[in-house]
């Protein structure tokens, strides 16, 4: 099933993934989260923040 990268608009076929998995857009390289699998949809992966704690 084809998905569309929300960052660059590239379309590609995505299969064999699970919901919540992080995949990479083959065109622009951005990290994407598999939001649903049937039908397959992706969104930008959660942001990566920093903090100083333990």
């Amino acid at each position: 099933m084809n998905v569309t990268c929300p960052e660059c608009g590239a379309e590609w076929e995505l299969s064999g993934v699970e919901q919540g998995e992080i995949v990479t857009c083959p065109d622009c390289g951005v990290d994407l989260e598999v939001l649903t699998t049937n039908p397959a949809t992706v969104g930008l992966a959660p942001e990566e923040g920093e903090d100083w704690g333990e």
């Binding site: 992966a45 942001e47 920093e50 704690g53 333990e54």
Partner: protein, 353 residues
């Protein structure tokens, strides 16, 4: 976000554990209390040779280790519940995450495909982390979650490591009007050379974020003269991103310090899991199912993840409710709703493994 009703038994578990002081090297009463609480929830329990509380539940072939720590830093905070928050030393760092492990594993017990082992490790807050080092000698589990606070909606992927050392320089006393540098001046020159060297290394490594930067901290310094000997000493800690080889760095430190001397007091490599870790999907699904927007975090400090991570190299993340900014402060407290959310999220994760 969904509404949460945290179970009274789970609140009592956390309150009781926070009420028992457990400074590093004085954890035994808390360890025994935790074992009793786990046993009452169906865990098979024991205290290992290092003093860690160990509880296992389930019997599947897949082995999941939930590694929390039971010791706290000093500072008594009266234990109380106010406005839905439990106050007390260790409520956030890290008895909240540890009790989350116990409550989630027991809640998932009937639907577990795995064997889940909860560890209440001793000595995380003191140099050497003896509890985690003992556990690191186990066979690598299939999955590991470390218990430290990042918030119920966050998955922590990594920590920086540390390199701690003492610097000392001594020389015969000299008149301050004479030629040459005093020991104190040489110590300052070493510190300046060190920070310049680290700036160069960070630039060469393409470090653009705090997590990828080698950062020095001057923890103590002293300079003095007893009439016969002029000396200066500093205690310095470096935070190390994953991928920095501490041994190579140590040899460079010795070169920079001459004629002073370096005595290394502790070394720990940094560790980071990839976002593609097989532990990430169940966490993201469970956080979204609870109405949250998942976050990834990278910590600039250090935890037991850096002890077991490089040894086990299994899928590993750090998870736990609470605001890490309250670690080690007089304001330490945890929201009981957040504690309850984290229990449900981790329960869902364990059931998926």
């Amino acid at each position: 976000m969904d509404t949460v009703s945290t179970l009274p038994d789970d609140i009592e578990l956390l309150r009781r554990l926070v009420e028992i002081p457990s400074l590093s090297d004085g954890e035994r009463p808390a360890v025994e209390a935790l074992c009793r609480k786990m046993e009452a929830r169906g865990f098979r329990v024991h205290v290992d040779d290092t003093g860690n509380a160990i509880g296992s539940i389930g019997s599947g072939k897949t082995h999941v280790v939930l590694l929390g720590h039971i010791d706290t830093v000093p500072g008594q905070i009266p234990v109380r519940i106010e406005n839905g928050e439990l106050w007390g030393r260790g409520a956030v760092d890290a008895k909240g995450p540890l009790c989350t492990f116990v409550a989630a594993a027991s809640a998932a017990a009937a639907r577990l495909s795995a064997t889940v082992t909860v560890v209440g490790a001793v000595g995380e807050e003191r140099l050497g982390s003896p509890g985690a080092k003992s556990v690191a000698r186990w066979d690598a589990p299939d999955f590991c979650v470390i218990g430290e606070p990042s918030g119920w909606d966050a998955v922590c992927l990594g920590y920086r490591g540390t390199l701690g050392f003492h610097y000392q320089v001594r020389q015969p006393s000299r008149h301050s009007a004479g030629p040459g540098e005093s020991a104190g001046e040489q110590a300052i020159a070493f510190w300046n050379a060190l920070t310049t060297e680290l700036d160069t290394m960070n630039a060469a490594n393409g470090a653009t974020t705090g997590f990828t930067t080698i950062a020095p901290a001057l923890r103590e310094m002293h300079a003095g003269n007893n009439g016969l000997q002029d000396e200066a000493a500093m205690s310095i800690g470096l935070r190390l991103p994953p991928g920095i080889d501490p041994r190579r760095l140590q040899s460079r430190l010795h070169e920079l310090a001459a004629p002073g001397e370096i005595d290394v007091t502790g070394v720990q490599e940094g560790f980071r899991s990839p976002k593609q870790s097989p532990l990430v999907p169940p966490f993201l699904r469970a956080i979204r199912a609870a109405g949250g927007t998942p976050r990834f975090t990278l910590k600039l400090g250090t935890s037991d993840m850096t002890i077991v991570g490089p040894v086990w190299n299994c899928p590993m993340v750090t998870y736990g409710p609470g605001d890490a900014a309250l670690d080690h402060t007089p304001e330490e407290r945890i929201g009981l709703d957040d504690y309850g959310r984290a229990i449900r999220i981790l329960r869902d994760v364990l059931e998926a493994l």
